[in-house]
């Protein structure tokens, strides 16, 4: 029982990191990315390979993943952020599909669809963190650090500039803000933090393959952010909890034919997304929908 709860808590923690980091660009900077799972993947592959080949420490493996993820995010941000929002969506979609092809075809590094098996347990400053409880602690510590960092960033001049861009890009640039650089930097920060989740994921599952980083995963992270509430600190965390627990909870509904459980789960999940967007578009944790009405120019 406890093992199950801990395993879920770890996965919720990892997904919460993804949701929180995506929210940093989606909720605060208004950048809609469909490629978040790719940065998750880069973090996971980097950490896994460093740990398998060199027995790297968790901190080293994670830092390397963050660095690589950040560098690759520049490849997405630099060309795509010069143009309008829809194009970034399309470009991120392109990156998602291209990077996925690379993940599955660069077999000497990623193991392709077969994936990487036998990733050693995380080692933190020489100690093994293979015990699930300790690993949960590590996950929550990472989540907490990232939350603190993002809170600090959001409250800084950088965060204000991003929010200004989100609300009105033209006005922001008329106030001297270099929109492209600010957005690029935001994507960089978000992508590198997302790599932390990847590193945790790789060490926890001890197996990764390309199927954990597909488009559906990117969309699921978006769903977490939106269901929880964009532009709030805790909303995405709540969203991650709900998105991961709800399908599991649905399995307790009696009288469902077992062969249809999966489909019915997915339908309820879809319906929840639709209803929420109609009746509470700012998300569960966001500002009430009434205050959002009729404001923006």
């Amino acid at each position: 029982m406890t093992t199950y709860i801990i395993s879920l808590a770890i996965l919720i923690g990892i997904n919460a990191i993804l949701a929180v980091t995506l929210n940093f660009i989606l909720g605060y900077a208004g950048i809609f990315s469909l490629a978040h799972a790719i940065f998750f993947g880069i973090g996971a592959y980097t950490a896994a390979i460093l740990a398998m080949k060199f027995g790297a420490d968790f901190t080293v493996a994670t830092a390397a993943g963050m660095l690589l993820s950040g560098v690759i995010s520049l490849a997405l941000a630099l060309p795509a952020l010069r143009v309008r929002g829809e194009y970034f969506v399309a470009a991120s979609l392109g990156l998602q599909m291209l990077a996925l092809t690379v993940f599955s075809e660069w077999k000497s590094v990623t193991g392709g669809i077969g994936g990487l098996i036998g990733i050693p347990p995380a080692r933190l400053f020489g100690f093994d963190v293979s015990d699930p409880v300790l690993f949960l602690g590590l996950t929550l510590a990472c989540l907490a650090l990232i939350l603190i960092a993002i809170r600090a960033l959001v409250r800084s001049s950088f965060g204000r500039s991003l929010k200004a861009i989100r609300d009105d890009e033209t006005a922001a640039s008329a106030l001297g803000k270099n929109v492209a650089v600010l957005k690029t930097l935001a994507v960089l920060v978000s992508s590198s933090f997302a790599a932390v989740a990847g590193s945790l994921f790789a060490f926890y599952l001890s197996f990764i393959n390309v199927e954990s980083f597909v488009l559906e995963v990117s969309v699921q992270i978006i769903a977490m952010v939106i269901i929880g509430g964009t532009g709030t600190l805790l909303g995405p965390v709540i969203g991650a909890v709900i998105v991961l627990l709800l399908p599991a909870l649905l399995t307790y509904i009696p009288y469902l034919p077992p062969t249809e459980i999966g489909s019915i789960q997915q339908m309820i999940y879809g319906l929840a997304m639709v209803l929420l967007m109609i009746f509470r578009p700012s998300g569960l944790w966001g500002y009430g929908s009434d205050t959002r009405k009729g404001g923006a120019p």
């Binding site: 795509a80 979609l93 599909m97």
Partner: protein
């Protein structure tokens, strides 16, 4: 000869992609709604056609009509019960996206529950190729889909350029007030956009059912292709989306000429990237820097 064969294959696939993307482009161009559930209209109409034509042996014109009605009704319901209520609040891009994605999820699983989760095809002699010259195989459906695509675009162009409601649809994106000047209700025009935009997906769906086959998850791929074609062709341009779809279909097939087959899908997105970097306005789009 291989090149010619690949080119013909590309034309056929391109025609189907163009037919698929043009509705998405029309809807996105006119209403600025990112209609991710466009793939669901595709899946619904494809499955209805399959069910009627393959299972119940209904003659094809009736099955086609039923598919058109199903797609149009789906589009209408989406506009009326999903997008319009959302837009009463702040019509944020994200909210619309998620709601549409939720619909897509519902439809996909509903189809799986009702029609089964395997692949279904409409069996027809039209999809069987014949050797027209040495080594060049062409199926009747290739010619049919290209002709249908041309007819649909011609009709759509005529409709958008010459009819009252068509012009209003084009005006909707620029200036809803202008639509009022025409004496039309912008909401009503938006409904028409969804009806027309969803209905034009039907030929693409039927041809796909006859060639590659349908599965409940087909909508996702449709969405990807539509989006890519819309960007490549230029946002807001119907003929751009058609050209974009054709280009993607050709690129995907011609990739087999020099590249290993596993990279053919990636070619679509390389083309997309290239356009975003070098020509973000697409074939026919207006210049687009930050608004």
């Amino acid at each position: 000869m291989v090149f010619l064969q690949l080119f013909v294959n590309g034309l056929q696939l391109g025609a189907i992609y163009a037919l698929t993307a043009v509705g998405f482009s029309l809807i996105f161009g006119s209403t600025k709604i990112f209609h991710v559930a466009h793939g669901s209209a595709f899946a619904i109409s494809g499955y209805i056609y399959w069910w009627l034509a393959s299972k119940l042996n209904v003659p094809w014109p009736i099955a086609t009509l039923a598919a058109v009605i199903a797609a149009a009704v789906f589009g209408l319901l989406m506009e009326r019960f999903i997008y319009r209520p959302i837009q009463r609040h702040e019509a944020s891009f994200f909210t619309v996206f998620i709601a549409a994605f939720g619909v897509q999820l519902i439809i996909q699983n509903l189809i799986g529950t009702v029609a089964g989760r395997g692949m279904e095809t409409v069996t027809t002699p039209l999809s069987r190729s014949v050797e027209v010259m040495d080594g060049l195989f062409i199926a009747p459906i290739a010619a049919i889909s290209i002709v249908v695509a041309i007819v649909v675009f011609w009709a759509l162009n005529y409709f958008l350029g010459r009819t009252h409601i068509g012009i209003a649809m084009r005006a909707l994106s620029e200036n809803p007030d202008l639509v009022r000047v025409f004496g039309l209700d912008p909401g009503r025009v938006a409904q028409w956009v969804f009806v027309i935009g969803s209905a034009v997906v039907v030929p693409g769906a039927i041809f796909t059912a006859m060639t590659a086959g349908l599965n409940p998850a087909v909508g996702t791929h449709v969405m990807l292709v539509s989006l890519a074609a819309t960007i490549v062709g230029g946002i807001g341009s119907v003929r751009g989306a058609a050209a974009g779809g054709m280009l993607l279909g050709l690129a995907e097939n011609l990739a087999y000429w020099k590249l290993d087959p596993q990279w053919s899908e990636a070619v679509t997105f390389i083309v997309l990237f290239a356009f975003i970097i070098f020509r973000p306005s697409g074939f026919f789009g207006s210049p687009t820097t930050a608004k």
